[in-house]
């Protein structure tokens, strides 16, 4: 099974990349679960034509009890991707990291993986690895590989470096390992070179190069991924190529 966690600086395009990758994996015939791990709960919205799923934390807030069926906290999106959002507390209150852990143990109780039997699970995680809760997706039993999304912007690279260091801190534990970088271009001057320098220094490959494209914005305005809107465009082809690479790796074990 492909088990991925996607990290990166806030606003760098993690949810865009994750949703397009989920859509690409689904288009290639895989059964996919995407779990948004961010209180904003907007990871999967472009797989759902703008009709968002009720986040797990919202369900618990509304009903004052845990859900007892997966359907209560999930929606089926493009390509039959099972979409789930952890959600979280009102900004400025509570503990968002704890919300992720609570959601994960709940999904375990509901036997999500045994029921859905996915070929791929993608965790789209808020920004940085800021606390134990935001490291939960890379713990044993969850993601096995981490993809870091970055552009050539200085602060994006800074965050990427922090994430890579955080994951390395867990080398003694059976946590996920960083598989590589998704370069999500912002058309910064010398972008390829800047990302390349970081990648070389970190010892990581750039496994996808996503061009800055109008298609992404166009289809997101329509509540869908680029892969769904125009699978033949260059951006979609890049996501499909990344999906195929991950499938091939998974097949090789």
């Amino acid at each position: 099974m492909i088990k991925l966690a996607i990290y990166g600086k806030g606003g760098i395009g993690k949810s865009t990349c994750t949703s397009n990758l989920s859509a690409a994996l689904a288009k290639l015939g895989k059964k996919v679960i995407q779990i948004g791990c961010d209180p904003k709960a907007d990871s999967t919205v472009n797989l759902l034509h703008g009709d968002p799923v009720l986040p797990v934390m919202d369900y618990m807030r509304i009903h004052d009890e845990e859900p007892d069926r997966i359907e209560q906290i999930s929606k089926i999106g493009y390509g039959s991707v099972v979409c789930i959002e952890t959600g979280g507390p009102t900004p400025g209150l509570g503990c968002a990291g704890r919300g992720i852990i609570t959601t994960f143990s709940l999904l375990e109780q509901l036997e999500l993986f045994e029921t859905v039997k996915p070929d791929a699970v993608l965790y789209d995680v808020l920004g940085d690895v800021v606390c134990g809760g935001f490291a939960a997706p890379i713990r044993e039993g969850y993601a096995e590989k981490v993809l870091i999304v970055t552009s050539g912007e200085k602060m994006a690279l800074y965050a990427a470096n922090n994430i890579n260091s955080a994951v390395k801190n867990f080398e003694d534990r059976s946590y996920a390992k960083v598989r590589g970088i998704i370069m999500n271009r912002r058309d910064v001057e010398g972008e390829e070179e800047k990302v390349g320098v970081f990648a070389k220094k970190a010892g990581l490959p750039v496994i996808a190069d996503i061009p800055r494209s109008r298609e992404i914005i166009k289809y997101e305005d329509m509540g869908m991924t680029c892969v769904e809107g125009d699978p033949e465009c260059e951006t979609s082809k890049r996501f499909l190529a990344l999906a195929q690479l991950l499938i091939d790796e998974d097949n090789r074990g």
């Binding site: 704890r98 606390c131 134990g132």
Partner: protein, 382 residues
């Protein structure tokens, strides 16, 4: 307000369940918690603490360590203590604060195991659920860690699973062993009381498991799945039910039925007597009351259990104080057998026979807890 207890106490927490389950096995139990006092888990909940040593420690988690996620201090303290004390294993338990900060006990346990070479496991306790969950995890972890295939012993070897002082008075281990012996069977291991880790390592030589509380059920299910040992649930309470339980054990040992666990079913009806308590213990008492005194008793189990044990309360676990009160008010049973502290929710006109439960009322009535195993219960419940 839902689930608020105004009158009734709560059953003791999962951390106490872990400490009780592992108390006699020679391991080191480390509770990752603030303070430095382990009396909640030992003196209050553990009658063995007064005359038998065990290694129960608190990590003394500080505010700064919690904020900074400084797992290293816990790891190095455990490794250092283990070097001095040479425990057979290390069990790490969580408490509310590590739950909030998301401490990964499995990963920490792996690091301690790697550095100390001592079997170490993380238990997912948080101090907010009952002892049943904690003891259950602890028993299962020990079985996973130490039970390996060994040849079957001659005759009918029996493992007892789920016996701790939280549910059974001291001396119950001797009673159950004598009962087995009187019925031509032999105890291999009593996982919670009266056995050592060496006995645990011989558990696969048994032909049948007897689960005496739900705390032993997960371990029994593991042994059923990986060692084909059948499982019977029940406490040999009274005389008649004790005899039929012995027959069931012998039959299970010979037939090797491993697809399901067998439970005392006499409790599932709608009797005029209600027994409140731990699922296996209280359902066995229901069966004993029927067998020895002709009393139709039904079970009210407020603790985690198999769903079947909730059949007599309409398929739902009744545990919140208001729900317990409402259930009893509506049912208006003639008699309720329950811990003395339940008297506050028992309706007027209903007789209350007190049966103290250490996991509920602590040491308050410890000396009055009767040993029901293979004994005449008529005087107790007349």
């Amino acid at each position: 307000m839902k689930n608020v207890s105004r009158i009734l106490p709560l059953y003791t927490a999962d951390t106490s369940g872990v400490c009780s389950a592992l108390y006699e096995l020679g391991g080191m139990c480390v509770i990752h918690d603030a303070s430095g006092c382990n009396s909640t888990y030992t003196t209050h909940d553990e009658p063995r603490w007064y005359d038998r040593r065990s290694q129960v420690f608190i990590s003394a988690l500080t505010e700064l360590d919690a904020i900074m996620g400084n797992d290293e201090r816990l790891i190095s303290d455990c490794v250092s203590a283990a070097a001095d004390l040479h425990p057979a294993f290390i069990a790490l338990c969580g408490s509310p604060m590590p739950m909030m900060t998301g401490v990964d006990f499995d990963a920490i346990a792996a690091e301690i195991r790697g550095r100390s070479g001592i079997p170490t496991f993380g238990l997912h306790t948080n101090g907010t659920v009952s002892y049943v969950e904690g003891a259950s995890q602890a028993f299962e972890a020990v079985v996973r860690e130490f039970v390996r295939h060994v040849p079957k012993r001659e005759g009918i070897g029996v493992n007892i699973l789920g016996m701790t002082p939280l549910d059974f008075p001291l001396g119950s281990d001797g009673s159950v062993k004598s009962w087995l012996s009187a019925n031509g069977m032999e105890q291999v291991c009593n996982l919670g009381m009266g056995s050592t880790l060496e006995d645990v390592k011989q558990m696969a030589s048994a032909r049948v498991n007897l689960v005496v509380s739900h705390t032993g059920r997960a371990a029994a299910d593991y042994l059923r799945k990986y060692f084909d040992i059948p499982c019977i649930c029940g406490v040999p309470a009274g005389k008649g039910f004790a005899d039929s339980l012995a027959s069931q054990l012998r039959a299970a040992a010979e037939s090797s039925i491993t697809d399901r666990a067998i439970i005392p079913e006499a409790c599932l009806g709608d009797g005029d007597t209600v027994v409140i308590g731990e699922s296996v213990y209280a359902s066995s008492l229901c069966a004993a009351l029927k067998a020895d005194m002709g009393i139709d008793a039904s079970l009210l189990c407020p603790l985690p259990a198999d769903d079947r044990y909730y059949e007599s309360t309409g398929g739902e676990r009744v545990y919140a104080e208001e729900d317990l009160e409402a259930y009893l008010r509506e049912k208006m049973p003639g008699t309720v057998i329950a811990d003395p502290l339940y008297k506050y929710v028992i309706p007027e006109g209903t007789r209350h026979i007190e049966l103290p439960h250490l996991a509920f009322s602590g040491r308050t009535w410890q000396r009055s807890i009767p040993d029901l195993i293979n004994t005449d219960i008529k005087e107790l419940f007349k």
